[in-house]
Each structure stands twice: as C-alpha cells, then as structure tokens.
C-alpha cells in the first residue's frame, strides 16, 4: 500500500471516528464547556489558513500570481451571492485566462 493510501485511509478513519464518537457524548457536555464556540472558531481558522496557503503559497515560499486575482473574483462572486460551483468556476477561469495571456 502506498503512502498516499495510508493518508487517505487514516484521514477517513479519523473523520468517521469523530462523527461516531459524537453520538456517544451526552448533550450536557456541550452546554457546560464552551467547546462549541471554540470549535466553530477552529473551523474558521483552518479554512482561512488553507485558503491563504492555497492562494499565495509555493512550496516553502510565497508567490503572488494569478491565484490572488482569482481569489478576488471569488470574493466578489460570493458577495453577489452566486452559488458555490459558479464561484469556483469563475476563479478557475480567471486564473486560466490570465495565464493564457502570459500573466501570473
């Protein structure tokens, strides 16, 4: 089994395990601790970091290119309340178009 399969299966097991684990936790735990608020913020932090690295990361360096323009287009599309799939396609088209023109 290749390393990539190990990653895929370990990640899958962890995510499914967390879902199942949640069904065994009594609801009162959630109300006592401020877990819910913190968990919501962890989700926000991870998504923001993933977005940033995906938009400006280049291995262990940073690079500003067509991806940033594409992200700006995506932000405008989201602000205009366009559906998710349209947002993603517009971003891809922006980056692909700029690169076809030799920019970024």
């Amino acid at each position: 089994m290749t390393g990539l399969w190990v990653t895929v299966l370990a990640g899958t097991g962890a995510c499914l395990g967390l879902k199942v684990l949640g069904t065994y936790v009594p609801r009162t735990w959630l109300e006592k601790a401020k877990v819910a608020r913190l968990m919501g913020l962890v989700t926000v932090a991870l998504l923001a970091a993933l977005m940033a690295v995906q938009a400006a990361g280049d291995g262990q360096g940073l690079r500003l290119d067509a991806r940033l323009a594409a992200l700006a287009v995506a932000a405008i599309a989201l602000w205009r309340r366009l559906p998710f799939i349209v947002v993603v396609i517009l971003a891809a088209a922006t980056a692909a178009g700029l690169r076809a023109l030799g920019i970024g």
Binding site: G22, V25, R27, V53
Partner: protein, 239 residues
C-alpha cells in the same frame, strides 16, 4: 388522514418541506463535488482514492483540506491532522443531533456517517422531532448520492485534463476554501480569527514544513476564543 386533525396535517406539511429542502440542498452541494474530484486528482490522488474520501470520509471541508495539504507537498500526517481538526465539528453536530435522532445499533453508524453541515442545518431548521428527523435523513442521503456521483465525474474529467494550473485548478481550490469560509464570517470574532489565521499561516510558510502552517494557524481560534467575548461585542458596536 383527515382534516379534522390539524396537528397531523401540520406535521405532514412540515415533513414535506423538510424533504424538499433536503433534496435541493443535496443537489446544490453535490454539484461542487465535481470540483473536489478534479482537485483531488490534480493533487496526485487516484480516482479511487478521491472516491473513497467522498464515500466514507464524506465531509467536504476535510476532504478539500486533505488534498490541499497533499497538493502543496505537505506530509501525510499534516494532511490527516488538518482533515481531522476540520472534521471535529461533525462530532459536535452528532452530539446536538443525538436526542433528536435517538439512534441505536447500525442506524447509529449510518446516522453518524451522514452527519455533516448540510444535514444538521436542514434538521435544526425545523421545530418538531419528526420534521427534524425527516430533514436530516433526506438531506444526508441526497448529499451523499449527489456528492459521490459528481466526485467521480470530476475525478475522471480531472484525469483527462493534464496540467491543472493551465485550467486554474489551484486557484479553484483557494476559492473553494473561501466559499466554505464565507457563511461563517458574519460574527466579528470569526473575522478576527480568520484574519489572524491568514497572517500566521503565511508568516510561518517559509520556516516550517508544508502543511504545518495550516495546523499552527488553528491557534488563532484559541487566541480569539479565550479573549473575553465582550471585546468583540464592543468592537462591533463601534463599527
């Protein structure tokens, strides 16, 4: 059965609404399974590996995170940890839904499997137990079917596409994360967390192994979460 029993009518109507919501959420969410399939293959996964993620992991944010970290050249451990951290919110949904669904045995496993953002949202939008259960199962099942069919379509298309950059797929991944983030950004403290996380992730990128900046950016949540809530309340009043 008859109009002489209004609570029954109302209940049936609420369940009908829950079914329609579940199916439409399923179709809408399923559509962007195409982008997941294509991005997974672009990151180096096989069609089967992409499909296993959609079939069993079945939680969009974590799936995008796992292939995002791999695509950026990160370690497998970092990819797994990012996916698990993002998937932790599903555990909270399962806690919330526990008393609503009241599942035992193999149904508990099945219910856990389709406990995601969408099924939880549709369930909790209703006020009766029956409508909540109906909404949960219809949304969960619809998303699962559509998400998997579209993942396969995207993965096969991605396989045939060649250079992912020429198609802007790397930019599409960034846009996908922004799209997942967007609906969560309304509270002022969420905006502060997101901004801090971006700064941490980018500042650490040159110094640590790929994948690690994303994990360390989770500390932004801790920093904001442990700050007094009134700090953010005051700020939003001033704004």
């Amino acid at each position: 059965m008859n109009s002489a029993n209004p609570p029954d009518d109302a209940s049936r109507q609420a369940r009908g609404v829950a079914i329609r919501q579940g199916v439409s959420v399923g179709v809408a969410t399923g559509l962007y399974g195409i982008s997941f399939g294509a991005l997974a293959v672009a990151a180096g996964l096989s069609v089967w590996q992409a499909q296993v993620l959609s079939l069993v992991m079945f939680t969009g944010g974590s799936q995008f995170a796992l292939v995002g970290v791999i695509g950026a050249g990160g370690l497998g451990q970092a990819a797994v940890a990012s996916a698990a951290l993002l998937g932790a919110r599903n555990a909270l949904y399962a806690v919330q839904l526990g008393p609503v669904l009241g599942l035992r045995g193999w149904r508990r496993l099945l219910g856990a499997q389709v406990t995601i953002d969408e099924s939880t949202a549709v369930a909790m939008a209703h006020s009766t137990q029956a409508a909540r259960r109906t909404g949960f199962w219809w949304a969960g099942a619809s998303v699962w079917v559509c998400w998997n069919a579209m993942t396969l379509a995207g993965a096969l298309a991605g396989d045939a596409m060649g250079d992912p950059k020429a198609w802007g797929l790397d930019a599409a991944a960034a846009a996908a994360f922004l799209g997942l983030l967007w609906p969560r950004l309304a509270p002022r403290e969420a905006q502060a967390t997101a901004a801090l996380a971006v700064v941490i992730a980018l500042a650490l990128t040159p110094f640590v192994t790929p994948g690690a900046p994303v994990l360390l950016a989770a500390l932004a949540a801790l920093a904001v979460g442990l700050a007094p809530a009134r700090f953010f309340a005051a700020e939003s009043e001033a704004a």
